[in-house]
């Protein structure tokens, strides 16, 4: 399992593009927002939590089609499926590798981009906490979407269409935590809901992803 994780991480680092792509996209989206809505700092600080969450979500989405497609193309996915490791853990490791290479950098970059959007000071910690809790769910849900569309030639668009509705609850509760934190309201309810969604998806969705992958590898 650890070997597989290290292999995926190595591939992500050495291939380069996959690693930086999400971050670059996140940066560009955040920088472009003030150009589209205007530079008033009061407006920016109101929308900052939502924009940062949306940017992170889209950046996450952007890297999903590479999650399993490369392994599918060179046949290593077939080898992994016949390996003694159960497919459920393969899928979980894949999601974990995706989170480490995409989700975690986004979480770390978010506070710096928050400065650009004039995020209120109490919002910073809540933004990081909510993203830290929410991005694993996004990686796991994304892995499910990638497993559904892995055999398709033009799966990219379909992948977004399938995954975006699944992201709705995570986005609502995550952005709500960041928004409430930024305006100084209590954050407990949405925070618990977000944590619940993440825990449930991490625990259950790998089984669905593995089932789907088995069908696709049949």
């Amino acid at each position: 399992m650890i070997a597989l994780l290290l292999r995926d991480l190595k591939l992500a680092f050495r291939a380069g593009s996959g690693f930086g792509l999400g971050l670059a996209f996140f940066l560009i989206v955040t920088v472009l927002v003030p150009f589209s809505v205007g530079p008033q700092s009061s407006l920016l600080s109101t929308i900052a939590p939502g924009v940062l969450w949306l940017g992170a979500l889209l950046a996450c989405l952007l890297s999903l089609d590479r999650l399993l497609a490369l392994d599918w193309e060179d046949g290593s996915l077939d080898l992994l499926a016949t390996a003694p490791l159960p497919l459920e853990s393969v899928v979980t490791i894949k999601a974990l590798a995706h989170w480490l290479t995409t989700g975690l950098p986004l979480v770390l970059a978010a506070p710096f981009l928050g400065v650009l959007l004039n995020l209120p000071v109490p919002g910073f910690s809540w933004l990081v906490i909510s993203l830290l809790l929410g991005t694993p769910a996004m990686s796991v849900i994304g892995t499910f979407g990638a497993a559904l569309t892995v055999g398709l030639k033009r799966g990219g668009l379909l992948l977004s269409l399938l995954v975006l509705p699944l992201y709705v609850p995570t986005l609502i509760f995550g952005a709500e935590v960041a928004r409430r934190g930024a305006t100084g309201m209590e954050t407990q309810t949405p925070l618990l809901m977000l944590a619940g969604i993440t825990a449930a998806t991490v625990a259950l969705l790998p089984f669905a992803s593995a089932a789907v992958l088995r069908i696709n590898l049949r």
Partner: protein, 257 residues
């Protein structure tokens, strides 16, 4: 007949031939029933009920809006049930019925959204509001789109049936979650359930209930929509079965040269 025997009798319709024969025999009754209920219900509702004292004649859009919204949700539940049957018992008719129902669900969702917008413009002063019910319907619409797109994208029919079934199961959980997430996120404009409520039927609860003059034609329209939905699903499933059969025949012809 015992319950077990009855349950066994239901599985007979997993045989496509038996399904086609029976559905074709009962289909005319469903068409006629749906047509009668809808024509009578809509004419009664549109022309022979008084205008509401506050909403004027716009209240009458209820005869399309409520049944369509009801069927949009029930259609997804039907797809969930047939997907489960396909995953557990591998009956092709079941998978094809789910496939046949999805576009009907899309149309029902669209009717509910469109009639709601047309009613909302004069009543709420806006075509669209990010109200929980409206938003959940929009999300449901996206789920339907993804489901149909996945069916269309995969060539092998059994793989497509498997993948869409799993998507339907996972999607149901997330659709349910979204419903509550959206409720939490915004308290809305849309009125609560007001057609059928336990208290409303027993008469203990008189506030905010659709009054009887509107209720009977509405009930007729709902029955009409249900019958129409059943007829459409039977009809479209029959078409899917025939399309599958044609494909098999053509493949056989190619092999035999």
């Amino acid at each position: 007949m015992t319950i077990a025997a009855k349950a066994n009798a239901l599985w007979e319709y997993a045989n496509p031939r038996k399904f086609l024969a029976t559905s074709e025999r009962v289909l005319p009754f469903f068409w006629i029933g749906a047509g009668l209920c809808l024509v009578v219900g809509l004419i009664w509702g549109f022309f022979f009920t008084p205008d509401d004292y506050k909403q004027g004649s716009t209240v009458k859009i209820i005869y399309l809006h409520v049944p369509a919204a009801l069927m949009a949700i029930n259609c997804w539940i039907m797809m969930l049930a047939t997907s489960l049957v396909w995953l557990v018992r591998r009956h092709h008719v079941s998978a094809l019925a789910a496939r046949a129902a999805a576009p009907i669900g899309i149309v029902m969702t669209l009717i509910a959204l469109a009639t709601g917008a047309i009613w909302g413009q004069p009543m709420w002063g806006t075509w669209w509001a990010w109200d929980p019910r409206l938003t959940s319907f929009l999300i449901l619409f996206l789920f339907y789109l993804g489901y149909v797109a996945l069916w269309e994208a995969i060539e092998d029919p059994d793989t497509a049936a498997d993948l869409t079934s799993v998507l339907c199961l996972v999607g149901s959980v997330f659709a349910f979650l979204s419903r509550y997430a959206v409720n939490f996120w915004n308290q809305g404009l849309h009125q609560g359930a007001s057609v059928m409520r336990a208290g409303a039927i027993t008469g203990t609860d008189t506030e905010e209930k659709v009054s009887n003059i509107y209720f009977y034609p509405l009930l007729l329209c709902i029955i009409g929509f249900v019958l129409l939905f059943i007829a459409l699903v039977f009809y479209r499933t029959g078409t899917e079965i025939r399309a599958r059969r044609t494909k098999a025949l053509m493949a056989r012809e190619r092999v035999n040269g």
